[in-house]
């Protein structure tokens, strides 16, 4: 209650007063960071926001720094407070902390989104000076900042008459799919070999089993034997006959694993894919899946996520799932359900899965064979 009252009091400050009585942002930031799920904390955050919006430019850096340790909703509250302060200070032609923003931008431990926001503010203050920093973003943990540096390299390569070395450097740095595809196309035209599957970190070698049934889409909820145990030597009663595990690999540059290849273009069926991913250390990672069938995914026996949507589209990194990899072997089990639709755009029964870090940089398994993909 005390915190709430403290938050409300500054809201009574008249416009203009805040400039002569700078707001201490810390207490208001703490209130904003307390926003929770399902709207919890919104009224308190609104009062804190109102107080912060009267702050001077000196509050911008504390707000940006707070973003790193905030949840996705709080991050937006803090961002919006920065925008309101900047808007007012720019209109009043008050000085803005360019040098402090530059120091913040250089601190790669800060939230990537906040650093991008800082850079956008710097561009608004002094575009020419700020743009000189872009080449240094080439290995930045912020994919947005890195994107600018990659774009610069791509332009340089084109200006140099399609320079393969520069394109290769751009590809190594690129994390956004559209840029990667564009660079890969340019390199292919230069007769350069590109291992896209390895660049992305797609898993290309699987053990698969099926088909089990998915009549009336009930297979999605039904627990078939592979969900109880993964025994690659076992056989089970499938939809129409006994089913066993078999190897299925893909040479698709974007890692698409097609269940229709071993089983035919079936309908109302369920299949499973299993992969063992070895790592030398325990570490945070993301499983990134593209799939237009209903699916479930388990890591080391624990359900990570499930989704029962059919044929609404598929793309690389459609679903991003933060996970913790353990040292040694990590088991990945994927359940893939095909439904009853007969239209030609519902034929696909496939997925593409990669393991990467939060920036999209591939994490390659220690047991991934060299030259695994073409």
């Amino acid at each position: 209650m005390i915190a709430r009252l403290l938050a409300l009091c500054p809201a009574l400050i008249l416009p203009g007063q805040a400039l002569s009585n700078p707001v201490d942002p810390a207490q208001h930031i703490a209130i904003i960071q307390a926003v929770g799920s399902k709207g919890a904390g919104n009224p308190e955050a609104a009062a804190a926001f109102q107080a912060l919006s009267g702050a001077t430019a000196s509050s911008i850096l504390p707000l940006l720094r707070a973003i790193e340790e905030s949840n996705p909703i709080a991050r937006n509250w803090l961002r919006s407070a920065v925008e309101v302060i900047i808007e007012r200070e720019l209109a009043a032609k008050n000085p803005l902390p360019f040098e402090e923003l530059e120091k913040f931008l250089a601190d790669r431990t800060q939230a990537p989104e906040a650093r991008r926001l800082a850079f956008d503010l710097m561009l608004a203050i002094d575009r020419e000076t700020s743009e000189k920093l872009i080449p240094g973003f080439i290995d930045d943990p912020s994919t947005e900042l890195r994107r600018d540096a990659v774009a610069l390299l791509m332009t340089s390569s084109r200006k140099a008459g399609e320079d393969a070395t520069t394109y290769r450097k751009a590809l190594d740095a690129a994390r956004d799919v559209d840029q990667i595809k564009e660079i890969a196309k340019a390199l292919a035209e230069l007769k350069e070999k590109v291992d896209l599957s390895r660049h992305f970190g797609f898993l290309t070698n699987w053990q698969v089993i099926g088909p089990f049934h998915n009549s009336e889409r009930k297979g999605f909820a039904e627990v078939f034997p592979p969900e109880k145990e993964v025994d690659l030597k076992a056989s089970y009663e499938g939809k129409e006959s006994e089913v066993t595990w078999q190897a299925l690999s893909t040479d698709d540059p974007y890692g698409k694993v097609d269940f229709n290849k071993p089983y035919g273009k079936l309908k109302e069926v369920t299949g499973y894919a299993y992969h063992e991913f070895d790592t030398g250390e325990a570490r945070p990672a993301e499983l990134r899946l593209g799939c237009k069938n209903a699916w479930k995914i388990w890591l080391n026996g624990k359900l990570v996520f499930e989704r029962d949507e059919y044929h609404r589209g598929q793309r690389i990194d459609q679903y991003k799932m933060p996970v913790e990899l353990r040292k040694g072997t990590n088991s990945i089990l994927l359940k893939l359900c095909q439904n009853e639709q007969k239209q030609d755009w519902t034929v696909q029964w496939e997925f593409q899965l990669r393991v990467c870090d939060a920036t999209g940089t591939a994490i390659l398994a220690t047991n991934r064979p060299e030259g695994e993909t073409k």
Binding site: K38, I73, E83, V84, E144, R307, Y310, R312, Q318
Partner: protein, 406 residues
Amino acid sequence: MNRLLSISLLGATLLFFSGSARAEWHRFRGPDGNGYTSGSKELPPELGENTLAWKATLPGRGLGSPIVVGDRVILSAASGPHQDKLQILCFSTRDGSEIWRRSFWATGRTMCHKKTCVAAPTPTTDGKHIYALWSSNDLICVDLEGNLRWMRGLTLDYPNASNSLGMSSSPLIAGNTLVAQIENDSESFAAGFDLDSGANKWKIARPKMANWTSPVTMKFGGQTIVALQSGKGVMGVAPSTGSELWNFSKGASTIPSGAAAGDTLIVPSSGLTAFRPNAKGGEPVSLWNQKTQKPATASPLVTGDRFYFVNSAGVLTAADRKTGDRLWRIRLKGPFSGSPVACQNGHLYLFNEEGLGQVVRLSGDEGEVVSEFELEETILATPSIAQDSLYVRSDQTLWKFAKKGN
């Protein structure tokens, strides 16, 4: 009936707000959500350089309509290679100058079909605050100065509530409740949110199927009802509680939305169907059905005793609201994604996907195209009419048309 009576206070509140809202354009398809406003008699029936008041460059794409509050026109957008920068933009109605813009990081999935956009829903307002929803399920309230009042990340709260093709349903305000349909193949629901805090007032499960229609309000027994359309039909709910009042169970379209006229709802269902709620609840009273009247993407427009719709061939049909009988039809230059709008000047305004604006005179025995103007940009949004002016957004630009000096 008791449930209907229980929302009488809410209805009175709505009547109070509807007066000011009528002169403005507070939500998708205007004051009554049927494409028509009874004001704007002086809106010129000509689209062209002579009536182009101003245009403003937009920083991001969007399919949602502009809304108009006082001297401000507000719209949402999404930008960035992943459409994950969500924006609310506020322009001056006077000269198109940008008053403020706010940006947010999307918290939900932003994947959608390339034709549509994360900023597909139209924002709404109660005249004091702006409520904006994106396909990422981010739901945000700001005041008229752009100050954040609350934010919900509905995909954070309900992780499977999304459609990989994108969602487009526009929220509306009924009484003290913001109603939104978050309907999809997986975690499908509709909810009422508290206007002040964004907290759930109610949440109901909805058919597990993709749905791009928007809720509409209608009046019955002096009360306001929110009609939720889906492939299963249309359900009428009390806006403050979400409780079911009646249910039309004969199926309906999942793309064009219905249009209300008083206590009658015209719904894209088996062609077009009109019904009136049954005072006893349950299945509504069917008034007519026209199986050959098939609106395509654009939703029907209701003006007094007539309604209008556009089919997939770009044919605009005028029909009698009480019988559904066709009065006339005229072929326009389609295809259309945005819906037609009209006002008291007796003309209908519609833009095709290639950016051709077309004005149709409605007053004669036959419709007549009286003006065409090529904006040369993709337009998938529905225009808005307020204060004798027409606003339309293309992929890159916000345009205002009005008499010189307005």
